[in-house]
Symmetry: C2
Subunit: 343 residues, 2 copies
C-alpha cells in the first residue's frame, strides 16, 4: 500500500540501493542486464521518485514561483495575466516544471513569500512583474541571490535579468497614425502612475506628440487604476471638457470598452466624433460596436520568452541581461477614423 522506495526495488532485485539509483537515472555503474531488470521492477511496483528526498541532495525543485500583487477583483478582469501564465506554463510544462502561484496584498508580503520559497528550497527561481519606481523587490531579490527574471523594462531592474518589449515604439506608431488621420488633440488614459511601464509610455506619448511638430498636437494624460469604472469616469471628464480630444488611447481594453460606452451614452459617434485605441487586444475588443483599433501583442509568447530566460538562468547557462520581445503592433479597426467637422 505504501509508496515503493528504491530500497524496495533493491530488495526485489537483489542489489544495493546505489545500483538502483544508478540504473533509474541512466548513469553508468551498472550492467545493461541489471539495469533492465531494475527498470522492469520499478515499473511493476509503480515507483515514483520522492522529490523531497531528491531535493535534499541539492537537486532542483523544478518549480518556479510567481507572486502576484493584484487585488482579486482586477485580477479576474485582466486577460493579461492569465495569458501570460498560459505562455509561461506552456514553456514550463515541456520540461515538467511547475508554477507556484500566490496572490499577495503588497510588495512586502511578496518579498516575504519569495524569501520563504527560496529559503525552503521550494522554487528554483521567480518572476517579477509590474515594477515600480525604486522597487524594493529588486534589491531584495538581488540580496537573496535567487534567479529572477523581470517582466518589464530594464530601466529599474538593476542587475536583474529582464524580458521586455518596446512600448515606446508602439505608442509612437499609434500617435503617428492618429495624426495622419487629422487628429490634433489626443488624450491618453493611462494606468497606475507608479508603474515603470506607465511612466515610459507617458514619456513616449508626449514625445511622439511633440515630434509631430511644435504645438501641432495637443496632448493630455490622465491616470487610472485600470478598472472600467475609472476608465469611464475619466472618459466622461475628457469628453466634457471645453477642449475635448478627438482621439483617446487607453492603457487596456477594459477601459477602452468602458470609454466607448461613455462616448455612445453622450451621443458621440465613434469614430466620426471620437477615435478610440486600446492597448492590449482581446476578443472583447472585436466584439463591441464598432470593433476597437488595438495595440496587439502575443502575450503568451511574451510569457514563454520570459520562462525560457528564467530556465536558462537557473541552469546556469549564459544569458543576455535583457531580452527584447517583439513590440505591440497596431491593428486598425472601426473605432478609429479621420476627424470630421470644422477644423
Amino acid at each position: 500500500m505504501k509508496r515503493p522506495t528504491i530500497a524496495d526495488i533493491a530488495r526485489r532485485a537483489g542489489v544495493s540501493k546505489g545500483a538502483v539509483s544508478y540504473a533509474l537515472n541512466g548513469q553508468p555503474g551498472v550492467s545493461e542486464a541489471t539495469r533492465a531488470n531494475i527498470l522492469a521492477i520499478s515499473k511493476e511496483l509503480g515507483w515514483q521518485p520522492n522529490s523531497a528526498a531528491r531535493a535534499l541532495n541539492g537537486a532542483r525543485a523544478r518549480t518556479i514561483g510567481l507572486a502576484l500583487f493584484r487585488p482579486a477583483r482586477t485580477l479576474g478582469m485582466e486577460p493579461f495575466f492569465m495569458e501570460l501564465i498560459s505562455g509561461i506554463e506552456a514553456e514550463l510544462a515541456d520540461r515538467s516544471y511547475a508554477l507556484m502561484l500566490q496572490v499577495v496584498t503588497d510588495h512586502a508580503q511578496e518579498i516575504e513569500v519569495y524569501r520563504r520559497w527560496w529559503g525552503e528550497g521550494r522554487v528554483d527561481g521567480a518572476f517579477l512583474v509590474d515594477l515600480h519606481l525604486d522597487d524594493a523587490r529588486v534589491e531584495a531579490m538581488r540580496s537573496l541571490n535567487m534567479p529572477v527574471v523581470v517582466i518589464g523594462h530594464p530601466s529599474q531592474a538593476g542587475p536583474l535579468s529582464t524580458v521586455w518589449s518596446d512600448d515606446g515604439l508602439a505608442i509612437r506608431e499609434t500617435v503617428e497614425y492618429l495624426v495622419a488621420l487629422g487628429h490634433r488633440s489626443i488624450a491618453r488614459v493611462a494606468g497606475l502612475p507608479r508603474l515603470v511601464h506607465t511612466t515610459l509610455r507617458d514619456q513616449a506619448f508626449v514625445q511622439a506628440c511633440q515630434d509631430a511638430g511644435p504645438g501641432r498636437v495637443e496632448h493630455l494624460i490622465v491616470h487610472t487604476d485600470y478598472t472600467g469604472e475609472e476608465g469611464a469616469r475619466m472618459t466622461r471628464r475628457l469628453l466634457s471638457s471645453p477642449r475635448r480630444p478627438t482621439a483617446i488611447v487607453y492603457d487596456n481594453d477594459i477601459m477602452a470598452v468602458a470609454g466607448l460606452s461613455v462616448a455612445q451614452e453622450m451621443v458621440l459617434d465613434v469614430p466620426a466624433d471620437l477615435s478610440i485605441v486600446a492597448w492590449d487586444d482581446s476578443p472583447l475588443s472585436q466584439v463591441v460596436r464598432p470593433p476597437l483599433t488595438a495595440l496587439t501583442r502575443d502575450i503568451p509568447a511574451y510569457g514563454a520568452c520570459a520562462a525560457r530566460q528564467l530556465l536558462a538562468l537557473i541552469a546556469g547557462e549564459p544569458v543576455d541581461l535583457s531580452v527584447e520581445d517583439r513590440p505591440a503592433t497596431l491593428i486598425p479597426r472601426g473605432s478609429t477614423g479621420p476627424v470630421r467637422g470644422p477644423r
Copy 2:
C-alpha cells in the same frame, strides 16, 4: 553564505540538533532559557526550515495542486478561473499554503500530472474542475487515494468530495423572469455539451420552460465552446431563423456580449426586440450598452469555500461529502424587458 541549518544553530548554541528542533517547533523537551537562546540564534542566522527535509519525515507539502485543462486562448478570456484562483489563494495564503498550477492539454495529461505530484509528495491534495460525463479523472483520483475536492455538481463525482452551487435554481429564476416579461420563445446558448454542468443547466432550462405551462414557451438549446466567435455565430443563426426567439440566455458573459453585438448589427433593439441574459457577471457586462442582465455569483467566495473543504480533508477533519454554496442570483439590467410588437 550557505543557508544555515539546525546543525549550525546547534553548534553555535552548544546543544544537540534534537534540542534545536524541539525549540524551533515549540515542542516540550527544552528549558525556556535554552529555547530562547536557540530562537535568538536562529533569528540571527536567518534560518529557514528546509521544506524538503521536513517533507522527508512525512510532513505536509503545504501545497495544493490545480491542473487546468483549457486552451491558453480561452483561459485568458474567462474571468471565471482567475476569480476562482483568487478566492482559493485568499484562503490558502492565510495558512501559508501555496498553489501549484499547471496548464494541461487533455485529461490524460491532467491525471498524469496529479499522479506525479502526489507520487513525488509535492502536493497534499488537488481540485478537479469541469467534470465530464463518465470522467476518467474521478476513478484515477480515487485510486490514488489523494485528497480531492471536485468543484461542481456531485452527480458525477462518485465518492469524491464536492463543492457546488445550484445552477438549476438560477436557470429557473431566469426563465420565470423572462416568461413574466411576456417572452414565449426563449433560447439558450450553452457551453460545451460534454460538461456536467452544461447538461444540468440544459435539463433545468427545459424543465423550467415546460413548467411555465404545456406548450406555452418554446425553447431551444444550442451548444458552443464558450468563445465569443461561436456565441456570435449561434446568435446570428438564431436571429435569422423563422421562429426567432425573443430572449436568449448565454452560458457566459463573453458570448452574451458577442450576441449583443450581433443583435445590434442586425438592427434589432435590445431589449425591445431581444432580451439578453448572461451567466456570470463581470464588469464587462455592465460596460456594454445596454448593460447586461446577468446571473451573478461570488466566484472568489466559491473558490474559498472549495479551498476550506480541501484543507479540512487534508487535515483529516470530518467533512461533508458535498457542500452547497449559494446559487447565482439574477441582476436585471437594461438588456431585458417586456416583449413588444404583435404576438
